[in-house]
Structure formats: structure tokens, C-alpha cells
């Protein structure tokens, strides 16, 4: 704890107040958010500037130093690169970097999201041995030389047998020290998000943007809860494909829609890579709700009930409103599996509804 921390926290809280106010509009402007380098999102925030009587900056002439012709523009008003802290607040915007963790925290506070608990009582705890302890007995291969030497030295000094002129230190049996392990129980916190998106002709740019923004925030929140978050992306029209994230957000296919294809692929993925015993599984499916006729919807329901929902922590379905889609699928889901606690449904009609939708998906904290 540094002396200045209370002041810093106070400042941060003031700034966060600002973020909070802007949070809504801010989420709906996806382009403001970019992952830069390692997990840092740069949020430009004004430095708090106490008003006083001062001159308008552009009305003031000034003196400079250097080369140049008359009428030539000079470099922007930059703060002096001096070795001393300036006492003048610059006319700049301070870039307050908010790490993704902080952003998630803000999101969590704003949406009153519960922290996600490790999976119930049957949650997997992994035992890990770490060689952090010291014992008086053990195999010679683990002997801790420095500790042993010190113990011997201490004993010799205490008993007066240590001779400065002839500094021989001879460890006895009871001086020996050995490295030993401590067993720690580490809660298993692996999670995988499986994003599925309908990319049939009816999903336009606006619909994909909504999916993109919502996915970003879901990702941010879940990442703050799990150390080890894997993501998989599945796109589907009449066929499903496993793709990388870039393709996921940018591809535009056209054609029919067969949702069961994606669910089948998710099921396979879970079986092959993500055993539900070890993984927290969060499938998210976004679509405009227009499914191929016939028995495909029935097949989806069967897949959900028998495989996907039991394997997942929650299964989230977000239906984005589109000019073309019938929006029938969410109604079918509501009838079929709507009573299941682990099935979360949400309709996103516009950018403004992204926030409530995230809330719906994450509120349960399971």
C-alpha cells in the first residue's frame, strides 16, 4: 500500500464514473474497442480539469525556437520534454489504459453480474505438487545444500566448535535438509466458448456487428472469470464449418439455414476436445431465427436436450432481428426447451439491446 493509493483510487473512481455513464453508448460503438498488443484496451478519457479563469488557448500568440519560414506550420502544442514534472496541466487528453480485467470488472459492476462459481460440488479439483517445503528427511537427490550447510554452521557456532581460522563445516545427519513438496488443490477452471453464428444470406452487416460486439463483451467477462479460456468459432448456413475468429466475423455466405448442422458440430467438438467433466462449456448461438423447414428444428431440439444442454454450463441463444428472418426459431426453442434452467434465450432487436442481452446470458453466474 503506497501513501498515494487512496488518492489514485479516488481518481480512478471518478474516472470510472465517467466510464459508467458512457458505458452504454460505448458498447454500441464497437469500433472504439480494439485489442491492442497484450490485453490492453485504450480508452481515451479526458483528464479532469478544474476550471479557472484562463486565456483561450488559440487566441494566444507565443514564442518558439528553431528553423522555419514565415507561415510555416509548427509542430503541435506539445508538452515540454523536461526532466522535471510539469506543473501545468497540458491541453491533452490523457490516455487512461484500462486493462481487460478492469474493463470486465466495470462491466461486472455495471451489469451486476455474479462471479461465476467453480462448477458445483462435483467440480474438478486438481492436485498439484509443488516443491516448496523443507523436510528433515528425504532422498539424497533432494538434499538442499545451502540449508544443510547453514544448519551445520549454526550448530557449530552454537556449540563453539567453529574455528574462524580453520572454517570447516561438517554436516551431521540431523543437519541435513531436504526439499519436499506441498500438495495444493487447484480448482480446475478451464472454459471454452463455442460461438456459433448463422451466416446465411439474411444475416447482414448490422446483424454481424451486433454479434461481434456482444461476443467481445461476453469474451471479456468470461476471460476475467477463467484463467484458461478457449474459443471455437462455428459458422453455418446449410452446412457448418469450424473457422478462426477473423473469418467468423467477416465471412458472408448465402444460402439456406440448417441449424442442426452447427449443433452437430458443437456436439462433436465437445466429445472430442472438451470433456464436460473438465471443462466449463459455454455455447453461444446467434441467428436471425430463420431455420430450414421440415424436421430440422425438431432435430435441433433433440440435440440440445440430449447432448448440448447437459454438457454445457449454460446454452445461450441470441436471436438478432433481421429484415428477412421469420424469427420462428426462438419460439420453437421456448416451447421445446424453454423450461430448462440452463437454456438462456434472448432477442436482440437493436444495438441498444446488447447490454440487456449480455445481462440475460450472464446473470445466472453458472
Amino acid at each position: 500500500m503506497r501513501k498515494i493509493d487512496p488518492d489514485t483510487n479516488r481518481f480512478r473512481n471518478i474516472v470510472r464514473g465517467k466510464i459508467r455513464e458512457n458505458l452504454k453508448q460505448y458498447i454500441s460503438q464497437g469500433e472504439m474497442l480494439a485489442r491492442q498488443g497484450k490485453n490492453v484496451v485504450s480508452v481515451p478519457l479526458p483528464q479532469i480539469d478544474i476550471p479557472n479563469f484562463r486565456f483561450g488557448s488559440t487566441d494566444q500568440d507565443g514564442v518558439g525556437l528553431g528553423e522555419g519560414e514565415e507561415g510555416q506550420p509548427i509542430g503541435g502544442e506539445q508538452a515540454l520534454p523536461g526532466p522535471e514534472a510539469g506543473d501545468q496541466p497540458g491541453e491533452h487528453i490523457l490516455e487512461v489504459d484500462v486493462s481487460l480485467e478492469e474493463l470486465a470488472e466495470i462491466l461486472g459492476e455495471e451489469l451486476e453480474l455474479p462471479r461465476i462459481e467453480p462448477r458445483g460440488t462435483e467440480s474438478i479439483e486438481v492436485e498439484k505438487d509443488r516443491y516448496t517445503g523443507i523436510h528433515r528427511s528425504g532422498p539424497e537427490s533432494l538434499r538442499h545444500f545451502r540449508r544443510t550447510f547453514k544448519a551445520a554452521l549454526r550448530r557449530q557456532i552454537a556449540s563453539g566448535s567453529y574455528d574462524v581460522k580453520n572454517p570447516k563445516v561438517i554436516p551431521f545427519r540431523e543437519d541435513r535438509r531436504y526439499r519436499s513438496w506441498n500438495t495444493k488443490k487447484v480448482p480446475q477452471s478451464n472454459a471454452v466458448i463455442i460461438y456459433m453464428m448463422d451466416v446465411s444470406g439474411s444475416m447482414g452487416t448490422e446483424q454481424k456487428d451486433i454479434v461481434r460486439i456482444e461476443s467481445f463483451w461476453l469474451d471479456t467477462w468470461l476471460r476475467s472469470q477463467y484463467k484458461n479460456l478457449e474459443t471455437r468459432y462455428i459458422i453455418h448456413d446449410a452446412q457448418a464449418k469450424l473457422v478462426d475468429s477473423h473469418t467468423f466475423f467477416h465471412v458472408r455466405e448465402s444460402g439456406g439455414t440448417k441449424i442442426s448442422s452447427a449443433y452437430n458440430m458443437a456436439k462433436d467438438l465437445i466429445q472430442k476436445e472438451f470433456s464436460p467433466q473438465e471443462w466449463n462449456i459455454y455455447p453461444f448461438h446467434f441467428s436471425d431465427g430463420d431455420n430450414w423447414g421440415g424436421d430440422d428444428t425438431a432435430q435441433c431440439l433433440k440435440l440440445l436436450e440430449e447432448d448440448l444442454i447437459p454438457a454445457s454450463n449454460v446454452f445461450c441463444y441470441g436471436q438478432v432481428k433481421s429484415a428477412y428472418g421469420s424469427g420462428q426459431f426462438i419460439k420453437d426453442l421456448r416451447e421445446g426447451v424453454g423450461q430448462n434452467d440452463k437454456m438462456l434465450l434472448s432477442e436482440i432487436n437493436s444495438r441498444e439491446e446488447i447490454l440487456p442481452s449480455i445481462k440475460t446470458f450472464l446473470r445466472k453466474g453458472c
Partner: protein, 498 residues
């Protein structure tokens, strides 16, 4: 937390050596206590304005974050930090290489000498470290009593008005010394100067018509002085302290802000000189005495780093050190005064040397009596402007940026002095504390050609209202017309002078 701020034996040894060099150069300084700190402690102390303890306020945190970020992204780092106090406290960054520590220590002795000897610092509190921690204690006590939000909010109000002080007040000690002004005398209307006399002499010693006349005169005078305050009051904060509608703790907070503002003001008034002086001496001591040959490259790199100029601003280090060097040179060879100026023979000028070698003496004299304004006014010469390529710039509305305006010496000098006058702040005084005879406050912005930033001015008026408790006004010029901006607690207005 301050783990061990003692100097390492190596630095300690150098401290002694450098101190002796400084004494040999003729510097006369307050003893300097150096502390070795880590970068985040350094940033913390810098964020606190150089003091180890300040009252709780978010702006320290804001400054700290900015410094931390600048440091961690490698944008800037604080080399030196020194406090005007007796003894001076200065901080060295633990991770700096030895050559930097030497540079900083030599630089700091220059500052300490300046603090001690420059007359504009002569009235500053030399026990400010103690005073400022006492302020922190007082404000914490108010926070305990009234809550952090209330106190912090009021501090923000005070800080908004912080620059409304009179930079020259400390030098008129009679006015400064009596903070409690007695306003009672003139209004009592006591009888005229009656001289005691025996009854039979009364009419002769105190003729009734004379008494009547004197009485009338006194009354007249009293009417004249009904103007309140009697003279324009540039120390607006003091005026508010005495006449604002404040609770006791608020008055105390305001007085703390005012005292700290006065402490810092000489540093604003002598920025160029102070940095120039310290750089002059670090450069001289380092290059002539202290540097080891292996350190020359690093030293040169760091020295030029502090003196480099970004276009569009004047680096006080650069202008200051060059002016001092220029003065030294000119007085060494006698290139000043009437004979020099009236000499029109080019050859005679380049060869000019009166052999008096008074340069050193002169710069010590300059550092004693000048501040930035008088320094520039007296020693910025046309030759200097040419040599160092000074120019003036203006804002071009069409291009939307600053453009180089010209290199005319007279204009440069005038602009420079304008920039420095009143530390670059608008000059504002209390014009009338009983405006419209309704107890309202009228401030006057003394027009210097540059308009106020209006949105800020309006928000500042709101804060002023909090302190004054009645409607507040400020007279200024907008688009060439004299206007009075007002705020009455709920509404802003703007009108032309009636």
C-alpha cells in the same frame, strides 16, 4: 515503505566532492539533503508537488497515474526534484547510473543557491515541508468532521480560484503582514479634531465654524471611501477569505490553498532563470571538474536531452542557460552599454573586448535581483534572437494550427513578455464587493488583448458563487466589446456594461 533512502557510499562520496566544487564556484546554498528513491516513490513525490505529505485529494492520484504511465511507456522520466526549503530536499532515482546522479546533484546545488539568494524567493516559507504536512493534518481533521466528499468538493472550488492572487503582494510586507484588516475606522464619524482648552478660551482655540468644516470634510471623505474595497484588490483570495460567506472549516481550507499558492508562485515567476542557472552550473561543474572520460557520451546525451526544444514552445532550460552564458560573455568583454550599442563598425564589434572580465560577477548579480520578466526584458538582445533562431507564432484559423509568424525582434520580445506577465494568467482583481449596492461581487479582468476562455470562465463563476454566497460577475471583453458575465446561483447571464 521508504526502504532505505540513504545514499550509497559511492554517491555519498561524490556528494561531498560536488558540494565542494559548488562552494568553490561561489555558490551559496541551503544545505541539500538527498534521498535515494525508487521510480514510483519519485513519481509519488512529484505528484504531490515535491512534498512527501499532502492532504488527501484526487488530483495527486491523477498526476501520479500520468507520471507512472509516462515512465512505464518510456515517454518521460523525472530526473530531479528539489524543494525550496531550508534545508533543501532533493531526490535521486535509485536506478539511475552514477553519471546521472552526478548531473542531478550538481544541478540541484544550482537550484538551492537560487532559492537562497534570488530576492523573489526571499519571502517564501523556508519551513514549507513542515507547514505543508501541518496543512495535511488540518484538512484531515476537517475530513473527519465533515466527510471526504464535502471537503474534497470544497477544495476543488478553492483550486478553481487558486490563481486569483497577487504575485507581488509578498514584497509589500506591510499589506501582507496584516491579514486581519480593520475596516472600522472610517465609518465611526467621530467629531473633528477638537483641541482641549479652558472654557473661556474654547471659542478661540476651537472656533465652531472650523470644527463644522472639518467635520464635514471627514464625512465627505467617509463617503468617498464607501467604495468597497477601497482599492482594487488583486489578492482575490484574501478578499474572499475575509468577506466570503464561508463556514469556519471552509475558511481554513481556503486559507491553506492560498498559502500554498503563494509559496509556489516565485517558482512560476523565475522558471527560466532558475532552470537556466542550475543548468549553467551543472554544465560547468560536470565538464570542468566532475566527469570521468568514460561518462562524457552519456552526459552529453542527457544534457542535450534536457535542453532540446520542440518547435512551438520555449524550453526554459535552453533559453535560461543560453542567456546566462550570453551575459557572462558580454560582460567579460564589455559588450554592453552605450558605447557598444552605438558602435557601428563591424570589425570593431567583432574584436570588441574591454578586458574587464566582469562576466561572473554580473551573472551572480543577475540571479540575485531579477525574475523572468525583467531577465528577458533586460538581456534578450537582437543578436541573441538571431543566434538562437527565436520566432513568434500565432494561431491560423484557416489552417487550424499554429504557424510561424515572423522573426521580428521587437515582436518576439513583446510576445515573450506577454506570455510571462502574471505567469501567463489573466490579471483579475476585485473591483466592487458591493456591486449594484446589493452585496454582489464584481471582478475586473484587466484587458491585455487576449480573451478569456469563456466556458471555463462561466464554470469558475459558479465556484466563485459558492464562496461569495451572492451573485458574482466578471467584467471582460468578448469580441472587442466590454461585457459583464454573471452568475446568480441558478442562471448565467451576459450583458454589456450599463
Amino acid at each position: 515503505m521508504l526502504q532505505n533512502s540513504a545514499l550509497t557510499p559511492e554517491i555519498e562520496e561524490w556528494r561531498g566532492t560536488i558540494r565542494q566544487h559548488a562552494l568553490d564556484c561561489g555558490l551559496d546554498f541551503f544545505e541539500v539533503i538527498y534521498e535515494l528513491v525508487d521510480y514510483d516513490e519519485m513519481n509519488m513525490i512529484a505528484a504531490y508537488g515535491g512534498f512527501p505529505v499532502r492532504y488527501p485529494h484526487w488530483r495527486w492520484g491523477m498526476q501520479f497515474e500520468a507520471l507512472q504511465k509516462q515512465y512505464s511507456y518510456g515517454l518521460a522520466k523525472i530526473y530531479e526534484l528539489v524543494i525550496n526549503n531550508d534545508p533543501c530536499y532533493a531526490y535521486l532515482m535509485r536506478c539511475n547510473p552514477l553519471v546521472d546522479q552526478k548531473l542531478v546533484m550538481s544541478h540541484v546545488y544550482g537550484h538551492s543557491d537560487f532559492f537562497k539568494n534570488n530576492s523573489w524567493f526571499s519571502h517564501t516559507n523556508r519551513k514549507m515541508v513542515d507547514t505543508i504536512s501541518n496543512h495535511a493534518v488540518r484538512i484531515r481533521r476537517h475530513i473527519d468532521e465533515h466527510g471526504q466528499d464535502a471537503v474534497e468538493e470544497f477544495i476543488d472550488v478553492c483550486l478553481s480560484l487558486e490563481n486569483l492572487i497577487d504575485p507581488h503582494l509578498p514584497y509589500f510586507s506591510a499589506r501582507a503582514a496584516s491579514p486581519e484588516v480593520d475596516q472600522e475606522d472610517t465609518s465611526s464619524g467621530k467629531p473633528a479634531t477638537r483641541i482641549p482648552a479652558r472654557p473661556y478660551m474654547e471659542v478661540f482655540v476651537n472656533p465652531p465654524e472650523v470644527l463644522a468644516r472639518e467635520k464635514e470634510e471627514i464625512l465627505n471623505r467617509a463617503e468617498d471611501t464607501q467604495k468597497f474595497p477601497e482599492h482594487e484588490e488583486r489578492d482575490v483570495l484574501r478578499f474572499l477569505l475575509h468577506h466570503g460567506q464561508l463556514r469556519r472549516w471552509q475558511r481554513d481550507v481556503l486559507s491553506i490553498i492560498r498559502e500554498e499558492a503563494y509559496y509556489f508562485i516565485p517558482q512560476g515567476m523565475t522558471k527560466i532563470m532558475n532552470e537556466g542557472w542550475a543548468s549553467f552550473w551543472h554544465s560547468r561543474m560536470m565538464t570542468r571538474k566532475i566527469l570521468d572520460s568514460s561518462e562524457v557520451v552519456d552526459y552529453a546525451d542527457h544534457h542535450s536531452g534536457t535542453l532540446c526544444c520542440s518547435p512551438g514552445s520555449v524550453n526554459p532550460y535552453k533559453v535560461g542557460i543560453e542567456l546566462f552564458r550570453d551575459i557572462e560573455q558580454r560582460w567579460d568583454s564589455g559588450r554592453h552599454g552605450k558605447a557598444w550599442e552605438s558602435c557601428e563598425d563591424l570589425h570593431g564589434k567583432t574584436e570588441w573586448d574591454d578586458g574587464k572580465r566582469r562576466g561572473m560577477e554580473k551573472i551572480f548579480e543577475v540571479r540575485k535581483s531579477h525574475n523572468d520578466i525583467t531577465f528577458i526584458d533586460e538581456f534578450l538582445t537582437e543578436d541573441f534572437c538571431d543566434q538562437h533562431k527565436l520566432f513568434n507564432y500565432r494561431y491560423d484559423r484557416q489552417m487550424g494550427q499554429y504557424v510561424l509568424d515572423g522573426r521580428d525582434f521587437a515582436t518576439i520580445k513583446r510576445t515573450f513578455l506577454d506570455q510571462l506577465s502574471n505567469c501567463g494568467r489573466p490579471r483579475i482583481h476585485v473591483e466592487d464587493g458591493n456591486y449594484c449596492n446589493r452585496g454582489e461581487l464584481l471582478l475586473q479582468h484587466v484587458w491585455s488583448g487576449t480573451p478569456l476562455k469563456l466556458d471555463y470562465a462561466r464554470r469558475t463563476l459558479e465556484n466563485l458563487y459558492r464562496v461569495w454566497g451572492r451573485p458574482v460577475h466578471i467584467e471582460t471583453q468578448i469580441d472587442g466589446k466590454t461585457k459583464i458575465l454573471g452568475y446568480n446561483g441558478s442562471r448565467h447571464d451576459e450583458r454589456t456594461n450599463a
